[in-house]
Symmetry: C2
Subunit: 142 residues, 2 copies
DNA sequence: TTAAGCATTGTACCTTAGTATAGAGTCAAG
DNA sequence: CTTGACTCTATACTAAGGTACAATGCTTAA
């Protein structure tokens, strides 16, 4: 397993070195010190973890929520009901986000289309109107 | 058009009064003062706007990004190319988010299923493994 | 007409998520 | 064997997005 320094990890996942140390303090990333140098060392799995964290952040999850996901552990039978509960509620939560994103996407498509027409009406806040006019033509515009 | 006070608006959309004033300072919500009382007054369209802001926040958009969407205006021809650019790039951005959320959802489903089996393997970080093992059974677990 | 319960402005504070800086040690190329 | 790039710890600072509080004023039901 290849090992990198913190700077190399930072570069690979395109974050600030301080951010990695911050995640370490937060408990998201483990500290793993090389004996002689006293330098932190990281492996491919840390790269994956960091990428997961960054992606999740972009999707609107907090570090606490990300931590909950990362610290799920499957051990024989013990807490499987708990894991089901967590995963199920998170799946619902994600489905809800997807639905909302789809709505927003549709609204934006409408706005784009509306804008293409040469006789486009003047519109104060086209997104809200597009969002609230499910399937009907925008008529609130004057 | 029904008018509400700030407290009523806050209650309707379930946010703190201070948050509404913060959004006003930020430029997301207009200030509209009633003559005699000096009280802010809000209408149904402010409710819609507030709901849009809250939803968008949950989906990981910043107030700045939300502001950009809300301040899109359609006016005859003038800046329609600009609007296309903004909406198109935002649509792409949303599609990317949806894809990532779908991946995460699938990974969570896998974890849930894995957990249900009586002979579930011990797993250190099942989400990452589920995410990275596109379509294959989780075999990194020991 | 007065107290409770709203509203106003202004300022200060809080949390989350980083980012920067200082002073010291380590590594590797010339 | 030094020099420049990198690391360490510790502490402080920043930015975004709120939240709380104080001093004051308006509203309304008893």
């Amino acid at each position: 397993m290849t090992k990198f320094t913190i700077g190399q990890l930072a570069q690979k996942v395109n974050v600030n070195i301080q951010t990695i140390r911050y995640y370490e303090r937060f408990g998201l990333i483990e500290k793993n010190i090389e004996e002689e140098s006293g330098y932190r060392k990281y492996s491919e799995s840390d790269v994956e973890k960091m990428q997961f964290i960054r992606k999740s952040k972009e999707l609107g999850f907090s570090l606490k929520e990300i931590s909950d996901l990362l610290s799920l552990k499957i051990e024989p039978s013990t807490k499987c009901k708990e894991i089901r509960k967590i995963t199920d509620s998170r799946i619902e939560n994600i489905e809800h986000k997807i639905v909302e994103l789809e709505k927003m996407k549709n609204a934006l498509s409408k706005v784009a289309k509306m804008c293409d027409k040469p006789d486009a009406p003047i519109c104060e806040c086209p997104i809200l109107q597009a969002l609230n006019s499910e399937n009907e033509v925008l008529k609130k515009c004057h």
